[in-house]
């Protein structure tokens, strides 16, 4: 078949492979995506309650500290597995991505 225009390399897209070298990393990525989802949901909930003004100063302090530590912990876990936060996501096709992209 002559004259076929060169095909550009397909855009990289998320995939979980079953190759032995990457399986641990991929499982970590999947698990941490779920953890990150929960962490973001908790953050969202906390922000909403602060906005509603129904937390005492003390509660705000404790919740804030907890979330801050959770965020640090996530950063450490990501470093440990050589992942970036942007890599934590699941594409659900027409439902969009599991986590917001920003």
């Amino acid at each position: 078949m002559t004259g076929e225009p060169a095909r550009a390399a397909p855009a990289p897209w998320h995939r979980f492979t079953t190759e032995p070298e990457t399986v641990e990393r991929d499982l970590a990525r999947l698990a941490l995506t779920i953890v990150e989802l929960l962490r973001q949901l908790m953050e969202r909930q906390a922000v909403r309650r602060v906005g509603q003004g129904d937390l005492t100063d003390d509660e705000e302090e404790r919740i804030g500290m907890t979330l801050m530590l959770l965020d640090d912990r996530m950063t450490q876990l990501l470093e440990r597995f050589g992942l970036t936060r942007q890599e934590l996501n699941l594409d659900l096709g027409p439902l969009g991505t599991l986590l917001p992209r920003d």
């Binding site: 095909r7 397909p10 979980f16 492979t17 079953t18 659900l92 096709g93």
Partner: protein, 65 residues
């Protein structure tokens, strides 16, 4: 892959949008239930299964030989 204006590299995802969501839908004789084969299932399966990422060498089977 060129289109009518000679633009190169019509993006696969744009083709899939049109061929999976667009086009006339008629019940063929093949029990393919094409409506079920949508991007969700394809995306999820492609995520989970091992797929050869390197298609750079492959040429399509359409067009003139």
């Amino acid at each position: 892959m060129t289109n009518a204006l000679g633009e190169r590299n019509v993006a696969l995802i744009d083709i899939l949008d049109r061929l999976l969501e667009g086009g006339v839908v008629l019940t063929g004789d093949l029990t393919l239930a094409i409506a079920d084969v949508d991007l969700v299932r394809i995306s999820l399966r492609a995520l989970i299964c091992s797929v050869e990422a390197d298609r750079e060498g492959t040429t399509g089977t359409g067009g003139r030989p």
